[in-house]
Amino acid sequence: MDQISALLKRAMPFQMVGPDVLASIAGLAKWKSHAKGDVIYQMGAEADDIYLVSSGSVQHTMTGNNGAAAIEKTMRSGDVFGWAAVMPAQARLATTVCLERTELVRINGAALINLFKSSPVIGDVVMSRFATMITREFGIASSVADKVRRLPQGARSTAELKVQSAPPTGLALTMFRFSQWISSPKPYLMLTGFAILLGLWHFTVTVWELPRFESMPGLTVVVKEMFSQNPVYGLSVFTPEYYQHIGVSVRRVAIAFFLATVLGVSLGLFLGWSKKFREFVFPVFEILRPIPILAWVPLAILMFAGTETPVIFLTFLASFFATALNTMLGVESIDESYSRAAYCLGANKWQVFREVITPGAMPFIFTGLQISVGVAWFSLVAGEMVSGQFGLGYVINTAYTMVTYPTIIIGMITLGFVGYTTSAMVRFAGNYMMQWRVRELALGGN
C-alpha cells in the first residue's frame, strides 16, 4: 500500500494530495503485471480504469481527428494514462501496448470520482491537474480537457463550481507546501547541517582547544548563559534587557526598511520608466551607491541630532540603494511586447505604468527587498556599534569592550534569528503578492 502511495505521489495529478486521501486512493488501486506486447486497451473500448506505470514502459498511440497524424508517446514509471476513464461516457481515445515487462497500478475511474465526491476540494485539484496534463502532454484540445476539469461537480450548482474550481491560493497553498516539505528529506538535511556547525564549534573550542580558540566562549558556556535565570554577564533570554535590545533594533530596521522600500521602489520605477528622469538622476545615484555605509557615519552624526536618527539614516541608506537599483533593473527586464500590447489594447501611459511596469518589475523588486532587508541589518549593526545606546550591535560592541565574550555570541545568534525571520517575512509577502509566479513555478515541478 505504501508503495502505491509513493507511486501516486510521484504522478503529476496526485502530487498535491494529502496523505489521508492518498491512502484512500491507494485503497482503490490494484497491481497488475503485463508481459511485453500485451495490449492493455484498444481505442474505442469502454474506459473503466486509469493506469499508473510502476516499472517498464507502455506505448500510447492516439489517432487524431480527421485522420490527422497519430500521436505516439511512451509512458514510463510515474506516468499516468487511461484518463478517459474519468471523463463522462468516454470511450478509449488511444491504444496502449506494453513495450516490455511492465508493472501497472490500475484504479477504477468511477470509484475515484466517487471518492472525490466526499473530498471535493482535493478532487478539484486532481481533476484540474489531469486536465492540465492532458492538454500539455497529449496536445489534446482544451475542449476535451474541459470535460475532465468539470467532472466531479456533477451534482453541484454552477455557482459552487466557480468557487470550487479555483486552484488553492493563499493559506491553503502554503499549507500544502508545508505538508510536502515536512514529508520530504529537506528538514532532516537542514538539521544535519546545524548539527555539523554546532559540533565544529564545540570540538574546536572546548574539546580540542585549538590555538587562538581557547579564549572563545564554548558552546555549553553560551547555551548555559543564554538560558540562565541568573546570567553571569547580565544578558539572557530571561532578562528584560534582552528583549529591549531586540525591540530597539527591530524598530530601527522597520522604520528604515519601510522608508527605503517606499522611496526606493518609487525611485527605481521612475528610473526604469522615464529615460529623461534617468539621464539626470542615475549618474548621481551611481556615484553615491558604492560609498560604503561606514564612510557615511561621521556625516550621519553631523547631519542628524541625537543617537537614534543617525542610526536609522545609515540603515535606510544601504537598503534604499539596493531596492532602487533592483527595481530599476526589474523595469528594464520587462519584455517590450508587454507594454506594446497594452498600448495596442488602448491603455494610456499612466495605465501602462500601473498595469504593466509595476507588476512586471515585481519579481525583481522582491529580490531587491530580500537583499535590502539583509543590508539593513548589516548597516544597523555597524551604526549601533558607532553610536547608539541600545540594540544588538550595541550589545556586541559593549560586550567586547567589557570582555564578556558569551554575550557577544548571544547577540550574534539573536541577530541571525531575527534577521532570518525578517527575510522570511519579505519572502512570504512576495509569494503572497505574486500568486501567479508561485503557481507557475509549482507547475514547473518545484
Binding site: I71, T135, A141, C344, L345, G346, W436, R439
Partner: protein, 287 residues
C-alpha cells in the same frame, strides 16, 4: 455573424472596415550612422476582411512593416491608410497605437501576472467604454466561444502554449478590432499544436469580421490560411510576387493533401527559397 462569401475562389468575410493601404513605404534604420534600408518603396492594398499572408525569410523586414502599421515604429517616407484614414505619412511619421489594430506577438504577450480572464478584459477596462460587470460577462462568453471556459481563473503560465495563443486572440477580439496583426505567432509551436491552432484561428475568423495581416516564413501556413500571399524580397523588403490562394474557404486540414495545395507549394517554394538564400548569404540575423 457567420457570413462567409462563397463562390469565387477568393472568398472572404463581408467586412466593411479594416482595409489597409500601404503606399510607397520606405524605412531606413540609421543606428550607427550606417543607413540600412529595411523597407524599400513597398506598396500593398489589403481589402477589408482578407487574410493576407506576408511571406519572407527571417529578418527580411516584414516585422518593420507590421510595426509601422501598429504604430510602434516610424516610417521614413510613404503613407499607410486604414479605411482611407491616414495612419502615418508625411508630417506624421509614426501612427498612434490603437485598439482598432491589435498585434498578436511572436512570443505571446499575455500578462503573466493577470489571470486569463483579467487579460481578456484588459482592453475594454483600460478604455473605460463599458461597465466592469458587462466587460467580464462579455469576456466570459467570448472565452467560452473559443473553448476556453474553465481556464478563466488560471494564470497564463498554468495553461498550455496553444491555449495561451487562443487567449491572446480572444483578448484582441474583445476590442472589436478592424485588423489583427500577427507577427509569426506560431513560430515557437510544434507542428502538431500548430495545425490545431491554424484550424482554431480560421474558426475564430469565420465568426468575426476582421482583416488579418499575418507574417510568417512558413509556406504551408501561408497557403493554408491565406486568401492571398505576398512573397517579400529580402532586405530591403518589398513585394516580390502577390498570389491569390484559390482554395475556397472554409478550409480544414484536408486542404493540406489537396492537389491544388501541392501545386501552390510548387509554384512558390522556388521563389521563397531564392530569397532565403540571398538572406543567408547576406548574413541576416534571426528576428
Amino acid at each position: 455573424m457567420n457570413s462567409v462569401l462563397q463562390g469565387s475562389g477568393n472568398t472572404r468575410q463581408i467586412a466593411t472596415q479594416g482595409a489597409i493601404r500601404i503606399e510607397e513605404v520606405v524605412k531606413i534604420y540609421d543606428p550607427d550612422g550606417a543607413a540600412v534600408m529595411a523597407v524599400d518603396h513597398c506598396s500593398l492594398d489589403i481589402p477589408a476582411g482578407e487574410i493576407c499572408m506576408i511571406v519572407g525569410p527571417s529578418g527580411c523586414g516584414k516585422t518593420t512593416l507590421l510595426n509601422a502599421i501598429a504604430g510602434f515604429h516610424s516610417i521614413t517616407s510613404g503613407k499607410i491608410f486604414l479605411d482611407g484614414k491616414l495612419l502615418c505619412g508625411p508630417g506624421k511619421p509614426q501612427a498612434d497605437p490603437g485598439s482598432d489594430r491589435i498585434v498578436v506577438f511572436q512570443n505571446g504577450a499575455l500578462f503573466p501576472w493577470k489571470t486569463n480572464i483579467d487579460n481578456v478584459a484588459f482592453g475594454p477596462l483600460m478604455q473605460g467604454k463599458m461597465g466592469k460587470k458587462e466587460i467580464y460577462e462579455k469576456a466570459r462568453s467570448m472565452m467560452a466561444d473559443a473553448g476556453l471556459s474553465g481556464t478563466e481563473q488560471n494564470y497564463p503560465g498554468e495553461v498550455s502554449s496553444g491555449l495561451r495563443r487562443r487567449v491572446e486572440i480572444v483578448r484582441a477580439l474583445m476590442n472589436d478590432p478592424k485588423v489583427l496583426l500577427f507577427d509569426e505567432p506560431y513560430r515557437a509551436l510544434d507542428s502538431l499544436t500548430k495545425s490545431v491552432m491554424h484550424e482554431a484561428l480560421l474558426e475564430i475568423y469565420y465568426k468575426n469580421k476582421v482583416t488579418i495581416f499575418f507574417i510568417t516564413h512558413d509556406l504551408e501556413e501561408a497557403i493554408f490560411l491565406g486568401h492571398r500571399m505576398v512573397i517579400m524580397t529580402t532586405r530591403p523588403c518589398r513585394p516580390k510576387k502577390i498570389l491569390a490562394v484559390d482554395i475556397p474557404h472554409p478550409r480544414d486540414y484536408s486542404v493540406l493533401t489537396s492537389p491544388r495545395f501541392r501545386e501552390l507549394m510548387d509554384e512558390t517554394v522556388e521563389l521563397v527559397h531564392e530569397e532565403a538564400k540571398k538572406s543567408f548569404a547576406a548574413g541576416e540575423k534571426e528576428g
